[in-house]
Structure formats: structure tokens, C-alpha cells
């Protein structure tokens, strides 16, 4: 076991991969936690697809550089976010339907342009990333995004908690409630871009959502949720990277997300707020079981 670790550590690309995913975990974990709490889990997935045409157009016109990725992705992400808000506010569609319509168009545009341009980069690395080939610029991108994210969260955390827990109340508390919403969406796009290079568009959201949903089964406080989410994310990365080192033909993105999925299933079965909670706490408990919440929500 120890031999394996020293051998793995002796390769520069593995060291980079471990450092990059550790920093990435610290950055995406809080974003994922609030995606889940704000009921935007699926919106996160949709947004990951929505930024594809921006990345592709940036790549086709300016090559596979971090700057083209960042600029193209930001324009596409922010554009889709604004259009979604516009459609939801001015037309009959709700925001989920608006976002779904837009991300399907965006994904199709992205893949169409990529194929039409006869790209040298295979589709597979767009979808699943290429964590084993991270260069210095990508490391800088991950580090930069992590810094921006963590500093933003230090300032945004309280308003974000209040606006997530009780949006109606939050609206009465500030003149610019949309600032928090849009700021959070911007952080989401930035983190998707940081994760894109390493995990690909299909897997990027996996490292956000799965550790957060797994943590949700154990934590009853925000602090616990954030901390556990990070622990699950970083563990998924380390175990996933080791797995993909042991089985050289497996891409690292799916390996990492698969481990995160393992944490999720384990938590759903054994976590106190999952199935396990109801099995171990029979009706003598004074606590309201999850089943009662379901019933009351149905009644409303």
C-alpha cells in the first residue's frame, strides 16, 4: 500500500492532479452545498451544459487556452442566466423550463460547432475532462477560482443563508436581493469552468452535487453541511485518482464521481436523515421524522 503511494507520488502529473482536485474540492463544496439547499441541483447540471458553446467558440477561435475558456464560458453562462431570468419573469414559463430549453439549445450549438470545425480535441475530453494532463495555466485557473470563491463566501455567507432559508424574508431585508442570486450564479459558472478542465462538462457538476447531497443526510446545520461536503469531495478525489491510477484505462473524471456516488448511497442508507434514521428511530422518538414532513407537505 505504502509502495503504491510513493510510486504514485513520484509522478509529477499525479502530484498535480492531487493538488488541483484538493483545491477544487474546497472551492466547489460550498457552491454545491448551496446549489442543493437552494433547490438548484438540476439548474447546476443545466448550467454546466449551457456554458459548452462559449467554451467551444472560445476554443475554435482562440485555441485551448485558459483565457479563451474563461471568457467564452463566462459570456455563455451569464448570458443563459440572464435569458432564463428574463423568460421566467416576462413569459409564462417557470425558470426550470426556461433553463432546460436554453441549455438544450446551447449544448446542441456547442457540439455542432465543435464537430463542424473539425476539432483536434476529441469530444470525449470535452465531456469527461483530462485531469492527468493539467498544465500550469489550468492550475492557476483552479487556484484563482478557489480564491475568489472562498473570499466571496466569507462575505456572502450570512446573506446567502438568509436568502436561501427564507427568500421572502430576505427580500424585505435588502433593497437589492438579486445581488446575492446573481453573485451566486456567477460563482457557479466560475467553478464549473475550473472543474471543466479537470472533470469535463458531464462530470463537473458531479463533484458539486454528490458530496453535498451525501452530507445532507448527516448534517443538521450549515456548518456541518459545508464541512462534510468538503470532506466527501476531497475523499472522492483522492480515492478516485488512486483508482484511475490502478486501472490505467479508466478516465479520472468518472472514477472520482463514482466514488462520490458511493458516498451518496452509503449516506442515504445509513445517514440519520436518510433511510437509516427511520429504521433506527421508531415512533417513540419525540422528533418529527422525515416521513411526517412529507405528509405535511402533501397536505398543504
Amino acid at each position: 500500500m505504502f509502495d503504491l503511494l510513493t510510486e504514485m507520488w513520484s509522478f509529477a502529473f499525479m502530484r498535480r492532479a492531487f493538488v488541483a482536485t484538493t483545491v477544487l474540492s474546497a472551492s466547489v463544496a460550498p457552491v454545491g452545498a448551496f446549489l442543493v439547499l437552494r433547490r438548484l441541483s438540476l439548474a447546476g447540471e443545466a448550467m454546466a451544459h449551457a456554458i459548452t458553446p462559449g467554451i467551444v467558440i472560445g476554443f475554435v477561435t482562440a485555441g485551448l487556452s485558459v483565457m479563451s475558456l474563461l471568457i467564452g464560458g463566462l459570456i455563455a453562462g451569464v448570458g443563459v442566466a440572464i435569458l432564463t431570468a428574463l423568460l421566467a419573469r416576462r413569459t409564462i414559463l417557470r425558470s426550470d423550463a426556461s433553463l432546460a430549453s436554453l441549455y438544450l439549445i446551447a449544448l446542441a450549438v456547442g457540439i455542432f460547432i465543435l464537430s463542424a470545425a473539425g476539432s483536434a480535441v476529441p469530444l470525449k475530453s470535452f465531456l469527461f475532462g483530462s485531469i492527468l494532463g493539467i498544465d500550469d495555466a489550468s492550475m492557476m485557473l483552479v487556484g484563482g477560482v478557489a480564491m475568489v470563491t472562498l473570499v466571496s463566501f466569507a462575505f456572502l455567507l450570512r446573506p446567502l443563508i438568509v436568502s436561501t432559508c427564507d427568500p421572502v424574508f430576505f427580500e424585505t431585508q435588502t433593497r437589492r436581493p438579486w445581488l446575492v442570486d446573481q453573485g451566486f450564479m456567477l460563482l457557479l459558472v466560475l467553478n464549473l469552468l475550473a472543474a471543466f478542465k479537470t472533470l469535463g462538462t458531464l462530470m463537473a457538476v458531479g463533484l458539486m452535487i454528490l458530496p453535498a447531497t451525501a452530507a445532507r443526510y448527516w448534517a443538521s446545520t450549515i456548518t456541518g453541511q459545508l464541512f462534510l461536503g468538503f470532506v466527501f469531495a476531497v475523499s472522492s478525489c483522492w480515492i478516485g485518482l488512486t483508482l484511475s491510477y490502478l486501472f490505467p484505462d479508466t478516465p479520472s473524471g468518472p472514477a472520482i464521481v463514482l466514488v462520490a456516488g458511493g458516498f451518496f448511497i452509503f449516506s442515504a442508507v445509513f445517514g440519520p436523515l436518510g433511510f437509516g434514521g427511520r429504521l433506527r428511530k421508531p415512533s417513540v422518538s419525540t422528533e418529527t421524522p422525515v416521513a411526517q414532513i412529507h405528509q405535511e407537505e402533501k397536505a398543504q
Binding site: 439547499l37 466569507a154 462575505f155 455567507l157 450570512r158 443563508i161 438568509v162 436561501t164 432559508c165 427564507d166 421572502v168 424574508f169 427580500e171 424585505t172 431585508q173 445532507r216 448534517a219 443538521s220 446545520t221 450549515i222 456541518g224 453541511q225 436523515l273 422528533e287 418529527t288 422525515v290 414532513i293 405535511e296 398543504q300
Partner: protein
């Protein structure tokens, strides 16, 4: 008594629907105003307008001593997500979150104030429980603790008793009485004619594109309630049986 808020010639509604026209009234310090009306008559819209979340179609809101930095607000409980991972204590603290700044803990005075608020709302013993473990009544008490923490001169409560039992209702009414005695103005959206009205000094009846304001006994007459679509004639006759009305004097 001094007015916290003066409404002048207020017209409220949406682009294609006017809820009422040219309402002028004062919301006074130390008063409790009950807002009644049929579904869709604009009770919640009225509250949202007072909060500044919505502009009236016409008229003015004047704040004689300035718009307070904090307006106490309790939305209808159905709008609340009970699965959010937060403890009762933190929910109450939310009432004063702007005062705590972006980070840092609560100082001694804030902690004392919070303990008092949790105690008065009757949730001190469950202060460390997460929200998903609370009953509907306990959650409403926790939300009242948050309103207490807001410490506002004007307090707006949207159907606070819709989903709570009688003993919780009585407990929460005692808190409302204290607010009134302290000279705060309380606006209370109520969904039915009940003993809650005994605790209100004024009433505002919405419906039929009209708004009637006055003392509870002046506004909530059978004729008015029928005219503004709140009760049918037979409902009014049953509810007010034995009560003399203007059209039919009681036999002595």
C-alpha cells in the same frame, strides 16, 4: 396617538386588476389592525406594498418619522422551507442578522436578547433543534422569536394563526398584546372572523374593489361583510344571529 405610517389616496392593484381605490388611513403606534377579505381581495398584496416589495398604482405612503430600518414581517408559513439545515436559535438570530455584520459572533447583549426572545416565544427549550424536527406550532413560535429579534416599530403578520392550535394562538396573541402595549403598530392579516378580532383595535376590510377602514365594530358589520363579498347573506344572518342590525332593529 402618532401615526407610524400614513396612507393617502392609495390605489392598489396589478396592471389589469384594481384591488381598491383611493384609500386614506393612518397606521398608529400602539394599534392593532386586522386585515380581512375574501381570497384574492389583496390582503397579502397590501402587506407586500407596506413592505415596499410592490408599488401602489397611485397615492402615497408617508412615514412621519422616517421609514424604519426594520419592519417586522412574518410571511404565510406555507412559503417556508422546513428542510433547511438550521437550528431554532439561528432562525431567531436571522431577525437581527444585519446588525451582526458579515461575520463574527453575537456579543453578550445580543445573546441575552436572543435568550429572552426564545423564552418569550416558548422555544427556549428546543433552541438547539433543527427545523425539520419541529411541529407546525413550534415552527410558528420560532418565527415569532425572529420577529421579536427584529425589534421593529411596525410589525406585519400574514395569517399567523392559519396552521397553529388554540393554545399556541393564545400564546402568540399575548406577544402581540405586548407589542401593542410597547407602542408598536401591528398589522395582522386574519383569514376568518374569530376571537382574534377582540385583540384588534382597527379593521381593514378588502373586497369588491373597495377598502373599508375603521374600528372593528364599525367595519365588520353584516351589511359591510356582505357588500364586499366576504360573506353570503345567509352566512351573515347565521353568524350575526341575535345581533341587532341597522336594517332590522332588535325586539326588546
Amino acid at each position: 396617538m402618532s401615526a407610524v405610517l400614513e396612507l393617502r389616496d392609495l390605489t392598489l392593484g396589478y396592471r389589469d386588476l384594481t384591488l381598491f381605490r383611493r384609500l386614506s388611513m393612518d397606521i398608529e403606534a400602539g394599534s392593532t389592525l386586522a386585515v380581512l377579505g375574501a381570497n384574492g381581495s389583496g390582503k397579502s398584496t397590501f402587506v407586500k406594498m407596506l413592505l415596499g416589495l410592490m408599488d401602489p398604482l397611485g397615492g402615497q405612503l408617508n412615514w412621519p418619522s422616517g421609514r424604519p430600518g426594520e419592519i417586522g414581517y412574518l410571511a404565510q408559513m406555507t412559503e417556508f422551507d422546513r428542510r433547511f439545515p438550521i437550528r431554532v436559535r439561528d432562525l431567531a438570530a436571522m431577525g437581527a442578522w444585519r446588525g451582526f455584520g458579515f461575520r463574527g459572533g453575537l456579543d453578550r447583549a445580543a445573546r441575552d436578547r436572543m435568550t429572552a426572545a426564545l423564552d418569550e416565544a416558548g422555544v427556549l427549550d428546543i433552541a438547539d433543534r433543527p427545523l425539520h424536527q419541529l411541529s407546525g406550532g413550534q415552527l410558528q413560535r420560532a418565527l415569532f422569536a425572529r420577529v421579536i429579534m427584529q425589534d421593529a416599530p411596525l410589525i406585519l403578520l400574514d395569517e399567523p394563526f392559519a396552521a397553529v392550535d388554540q393554545s399556541t394562538e393564545a400564546h402568540l396573541l399575548s406577544i402581540i398584546r405586548r407589542w401593542r402595549d410597547e407602542g408598536r403598530a401591528v398589522v395582522l392579516v386574519v383569514h376568518d372572523l374569530s376571537s382574534v378580532l377582540d385583540h384588534c383595535s382597527h379593521a381593514l376590510l378588502l373586497g369588491g374593489q373597495e377598502a373599508t377602514h375603521g374600528s372593528v365594530s364599525d367595519v365588520l358589520t353584516p351589511d359591510r361583510l356582505v357588500a364586499q363579498g366576504y360573506l353570503s347573506e345567509s352566512q351573515a344572518a347565521w353568524m350575526f344571529r341575535g345581533v341587532p342590525t341597522a336594517s332590522e332593529p332588535a325586539h326588546v
